[in-house]
């Protein structure tokens, strides 16, 4: 009962801080909520200021809702939303779109002559639901494996792993124990079943038939493979060893001090190494894949920009949205926060490709095997279930097939529930 009181408190907060209709002639005030915080918020705010300076007819007011994302849901529920929102996760987009909470952007995009192929295909896909575009993206991240070159030389690995078998082999060669058979270093530990399932050639949802495919044989294979690391290296020992790891964002990060040979990470690792391990000799390669799997595969996600259906100033909101997700702002924002631009022209511009890592990451993001959240309304719940299955299979030693069968059953029910509503 205590929480219902908080919910209502939120309503009041939202009512106090939400957008109010404009009166008078000029300029139109647009409220914009973002989930970025800290220095990322400052950079986003700088862009908003630049927009305001160049557009006398519109004034954008930016607010960070970092740490209180529930406010977004409640704003939608109360119909008192800001005009533009970037505090919506890609995995929530379809759920909101299905329930009519978002403005379809198709006609605006057409009027502003923006084309689908400006975006990487995976990104463009994740912005769609049932044939309409509901969001825009300004940032994205790549996933790949970084490796310590020094450790690879010591272990005698001369060829970068391209297949799962080669990855397993490299992981074993990098692993070192002390006299008491305690880890000095381990080679690799895979994580993120949602991504590895794609790498193994699996899928989570069949767009055409609308069917849940959680227990797809390839997904099961991927989870079995992940669990094999837990068995081979004794997951309790691995966890014990991991508890001695310093924060990845510090000089004692496990990759920086050689406690792991390979690290499943993203392009942000470049800033980290610059800051915490200047002398580290390291390289990177795409996630290796098994026979029948997908090369250069990974998952996309992140924040998306939307215009809620209840927005009162859609024309002005679009003008701002189009600019903040346009080439100039995307380029500056991604450069500022060290993310990969989802716009192909920007990602391919010398400003980004002059860094070999960003050229590589941009290439991965625009791969046909880079997948965003499927266009289904319950992906947020689905993700939790996938993580749960991974935890139970890898850490708890449960049967991967059984865990994914459970997910299949639960998600079929969730899907029926969600679609029955309408």
């Amino acid at each position: 009962m205590r929480y219902s009181r908080y919910i209502l408190l939120f309503f009041i907060l939202v009512a106090l801080s939400g957008c109010s209709g404009h009166q008078g002639k000029m300029p139109v005030e647009i409220t914009y909520w973002t989930g970025w915080s800290g220095h990322e918020f400052e950079i986003q705010k700088g862009l908003v200021d630049r927009f305001n300076a160049g557009h006398k007819n519109i004034h954008v007011k930016i607010l960070s809702v970092f740490g209180s994302y529930q406010k977004v849901t409640i704003a939608f529920a109360g119909g008192d939303t800001p005009d533009v929102l970037s505090a919506v996760w890609a995995e929530q987009l379809a759920g909101y779109a299905m329930r009519g909470a978002l403005t379809p952007l198709d006609s605006y995009l057409a009027a502003s002559k923006r084309k689908p192929d400006e975006w990487s295909p995976g990104i463009w896909n994740m912005l769609q639901y049932k044939g309409h575009t509901y969001g825009m993206a300004a940032t994205t991240n790549a996933t790949f494996i970084a490796y310590n070159k020094q450790i690879f030389r010591e272990a005698g690995i001369t060829r970068l792993p391209q297949t799962i078998a080669e990855l397993d082999d490299a992981a074993a060669k990098c692993t070192k124990y002390d006299a008491n058979h305690r880890f000095i270093r381990y080679g690799f530990r895979p994580s993120g079943l949602a991504s590895w399932a794609y790498v193994f050639g699996g899928k989570w949802y069949d767009q055409k038939t609308g069917k849940i495919t959680a227990n797809d044989p390839h997904n099961v294979q991927a989870l079995q493979w992940m669990a094999s690391y837990a068995k081979k290296y004794d997951i309790r020992k691995m966890q014990g060893f991991e508890s001695t790891f310093g924060s990845a964002e510090s000089v004692s990060g496990p990759f920086f001090v050689g406690k792991i040979g390979m690290w499943q990470c993203g392009e942000w690792v470049e800033q980290f190494t610059k800051r915490y391990a200047k002398d580290l000799d390291w390289g990177y390669f795409p996630l290796p894949y098994p026979p029948g799997g997908r090369p250069k595969s990974m998952t996309l996600g992140g924040s998306v920009f939307v215009i809620p259906s209840d927005c009162k100033n859609k024309k002005e909101a679009w003008e701002f949205l189009n600019w903040i997700c346009g080439p100039e702002a995307v380029s500056d924002f991604c450069k500022g926060i060290g993310n990969v631009p989802p716009l192909r022209a920007v990602a391919g511009s010398p400003r980004f490709t002059k860094s070999p890592l960003f050229a590589f990451a941009g290439n991965l993001v625009s791969s046909e095997n880079a997948f965003g959240p499927p266009q289904m309304p319950v992906w947020r719940t689905y993700m939790d279930q996938i993580v749960r299955a991974e935890d139970f299979a890898v850490l708890g030693g449960r049967d991967p097939k059984k865990m994914l069968d459970d997910v299949q059953k639960i998600m079929e029910q969730e899907m029926t529930d969600a679609t029955e509503v309408l």
Partner: protein
């Protein structure tokens, strides 16, 4: 004075002008609370009862589905059953440990030694720390490798467990953490202890009672209303266990700390299944009510109120 007013009212059932004005003024002064109570409590509770029979995602209007949420919860949701078990674990193991230790602490704090008020303050201070700050602090204390708890254990040659990373140890870790806050209930016990008249102890001593006898036959019976109160409050609190795990573990590892209230919250605010979550809230209410009533039922057997005789 009060008696006179009551008598007057009894004699004259019809209220006088002044009394009516008094009533009106009284209600007027209480109206902020009454309004708040109606809007934020009565309305919210009734709405949740209605929603519990609906499929409701808060973005589209609620859709009546009858008992479906309840039947699904009780027959087909393994995670729900697991979260219920986790919560019962805290009630069955955590609650008695907390009650016994806070009672023991209050007995210690009742000893008349020099500087006792300082000790009392020291044990009470942790309860002043907000739950969120406490949770964050304990995440550090319970860290497997660098946490103070395991560092101290290693000093005496024990390799501490993974605490919050180990499904077998996560709940015991939370119970241990809960003991940090027993100062609150100890203060209540202490007030009760000081109300026990000395002559009872003196009489017992004359009859040759030792310390155990005095505790068993004087202190505990005299304290039973307080124990009863702390038991009821602790029971309700255990069923609502939420903040700490929301901050510290979010239900992990492997659902070992997925408590009822956390699962409810996730269903409501992560999955937007408000109807389902409302049904969960009402089931929790029913469980808490039944448990509380059971405790009340047994109380006649063991709770002693001075001046009342048990029939």
């Amino acid at each position: 004075m009060a008696k006179q007013i009551i008598d007057k009212n009894l004699q004259r059932p019809k209220k006088s002008k002044a009394a009516r004005r008094n009533l009106f003024n009284g209600l007027l002064f209480a109206s902020p609370w009454i309004l708040g109570f109606i809007v934020f409590t009565v309305y919210a509770i009734s709405a949740s009862l209605y929603y519990s029979f609906c499929r409701y995602d808060i973005l589209t209007p609620p859709h009546w589905i009858g008992m479906k949420n309840y039947t699904r919860l009780l027959t087909d949701d393994v995670i729900f059953m697991h979260s219920l078990w986790n919560t019962m674990y805290m009630v069955i193991f955590g609650l008695p440990i907390g009650l016994v230790l806070s009672l023991a602490l209050s007995l210690l704090l009742n000893i008349k030694v020099k500087g006792i008020s300082i000790y009392r303050a020291i044990f009470y201070i942790p309860t002043l720390v907000p739950a969120v700050a406490l949770a964050t602090l304990w995440m550090w204390l319970l860290n497997t490798d660098i946490g103070l708890v395991n560092v101290l254990l290693s000093k005496i040659g024990i390799a501490g467990p993974g605490w919050l990373n180990d499904p077998a140890w996560a709940k015991p870790a939370l119970i241990m953490m809960g003991l940090w806050g027993i100062g609150g209930s100890s203060i209540i016990y202490l007030a009760g202890l000081q109300n026990i008249p000395d002559h009872l102890y003196e009489a017992a001593e004359l009859d040759g009672a030792n310390s155990y006898h005095k505790l068993r036959h004087v202190t505990l019976p005299m304290l039973s209303p307080i124990i009863f109160f702390n038991l009821i409050m602790g029971l309700i609190g255990s069923f609502q266990y939420f903040t700490q795990v929301y901050i510290m573990t979010n239900g992990g590892p492997q659902d070992s700390t997925l408590f009822y209230a956390l699962y409810l919250f996730n269903r409501a605010f992560v999955d937007l299944k408000m109807g389902y979550a409302s049904a969960m809230a009402w089931i929790l209410f029913a469980i808490t009510l039944v448990c509380t009533l059971l405790v009340f039922k047994t109380s006649a057997k063991w709770v002693y109120y001075e001046g009342h005789t048990n029939e």
